[in-house]
Amino acid sequence: MTSPASSSEVKYLIESSEGNTFDVSGAALRQSNTFNAMFLNIGADGPIPFTDYNEATLKKVFEYCEHSVNEENYSGPKHQDDLSKWDLNFFNEMDQKMFIDVINASNFLDIERLTSYCCERIARMLRGKNTQEMIKVITLPTAEELEAKQKVEEKKAAAAKKVAEKAAETAEKTETLEELPVQQLVQTTRNKLTRKYLSFSNE
């Protein structure tokens, strides 16, 4: 749904995973290639659902888009050292979870500039590192952790198997239960009819 305004200040409603909606300017939203491909031509009737991402993440992503509306067109990745103070603050105030969510959302929305800066930031973490340092940075699971994970997965698989077996058993029982009343009904009817016939013949 577009808010009634002048054509240059068209606002779109965005719906987050919590079901909350908020306004984003058309100019900011047009930085998303996904949006351009999906909605720009056909138009959005009602809030645009980006329900895979929470409100905080989407607001952060579109905060960046709103800020970079007036910047020149994106022309390839920029070095971190060339980022403005605002850009640096924007990245620094994010915690790790938010940073990952922003990368995911930005990648889905195909916002080239933001995705590129986020990825450059990660690439920078690994730049010039040797293998030991890289392991520390990317928090690669140790052998013990992998073993524990495998055990958990095995347990899960075993539990799933049990559930499936139980379900199969229950289905079998249900089948027999469903058959029983019919047989009983036939038998009862037959008995009643026999009794009726006998009483009739006695009369």
Binding site: S116, I122, M134, V137, T139, L140
Partner: protein, 331 residues
């Protein structure tokens, strides 16, 4: 941000741009961390111009020229065993150590080849008297374009090397002054190689490596380059006669013979019925020079014809103290 970052928890699609932003050297280091890391690194589409390997000082030195022309050297120590845990890396004139995470040397080379999408080693160079411990590792490589054996390698090692590696290579460049066991060497000449180059450091030494007509006849290479090897001009003439009668190596496309001794053209051309071509005549032939197959334009020369109609051009160029005899077969 220098705090830990769970990179592998990012979805695959989000990882692609991350790898695109990473330096090639970082991608190679990252690929050595785990199997998953290797598969992810492959999405980077890293390419290399060439990977050369050199055996020197009980080490394998990998010379990697990356697609962006950056150079990288990896040192894999072979002995003693206790240094297997580290890989030395020379990049931008700075040596760093990468911890080896349980790979054998062969696995390490193969992983680097895999992640850099490199199908074959461009050149393998043996610089030591003997590098026997390197041979089993190198035998696991899928393909080696060219093997270069320097004069420092002893004959026993050279024969062993051919025994193990002849199946994975197609071009051999040998720098040997003499071969005590010529029978073993004849086995090398008989291999189905694309090119065999034999160079001598002492081209005036009367005891230097000498090849006979039989050696030339059994040779099965497409390109044969002989620098300073002792062959009599008469034997060379008989070899060309055998070629004309279709009784020599049918695969031969180019023979290059360089000698510091005088070559008598009368003896060389006797009975060949050569037709001297004018200098304006140009022909293009396939040659193997400087580790690459390329086309060479030859002007003039003398044409000879085989019984089956195949034509060849013979070129004799006498320069100061050196004579070139080149034989090009038109395919």
């Amino acid at each position: 941000m220098t705090t830990p970052f769970p990179l592998l928890r990012l979805p695959r699609l989000a990882l692609i741009p991350v790898f695109q932003q990473m330096e090639s050297i970082d991608v190679i280091a990252f690929s050595l961390l785990s199997n998953r890391a290797r598969f992810m690194s492959k999405t980077h589409g890293l390419t290399v111009t060439s990977i050369d390997i050199m055996t020197v000082n009980h080490s394998l030195v990998l010379d990697i020229v990356l697609g962006d022309d950056k150079k990288l050297q990896l040192f894999l120590r072979l002995i003693p065993e206790n240094v297997l845990d580290f890989i030395g890396v020379l990049v931008n004139n700075k040596i760093v150590k990468w911890r080896n995470l349980g790979f054998s040397r062969a696995e390490c080379i193969q992983r680097i080849m895999d992640v850099t999408n490199c199908a074959s080693i461009q050149e393998l160079k043996f610089c030591e008297t003997e590098s026997f411990h390197a041979l089993p590792i190198l035998a696991t490589l899928p393909n080696i374009e060219q093997i270069l054996i320097t004069q420092d390698c002893n004959e026993g090692f050279v024969h062993k090397m051919f025994e193990i590696l002849s199946k994975v290579t197609s071009n051999i460049d040998v720098f040997q002054n003499r071969m005590e066991n010529l029978e073993q060497f004849q086995k090398v000449l008989m291999l189905n190689m694309n090119s065999i180059t034999i160079k001598l450091m002492t081209p005036r030494d009367p005891t230097r490596l000498r090849l006979s007509l039989d050696d030339l006849l059994i040779c099965n290479a497409v390109h044969l380059d002989l620098f300073g090897v002792m062959i009599s001009v008469k034997d060379l003439n008989r070899f060309f006669m055998s070629w004309m009668r279709n009784k020599s190596n049918p695969r031969l496309e180019h023979l290059k013979f360089i000698t510091v001794e005088e070559v008598s053209t009368d003896v060389l051309l006797k009975g060949l019925n050569v037709i001297e071509m004018p200098r304006t005549t140009t022909r293009t032939f396939r040659v193997y020079e400087n580790s690459r197959c390329r086309e060479k334009v030859v002007t003039g020369g003398m044409d000879v014809m085989r019984l089956d109609g195949t034509q060849a051009t013979l070129e004799v160029r006498a320069m100061t103290r050196i004579t070139f005899v080149e034989f090009y077969v038109r395919m």
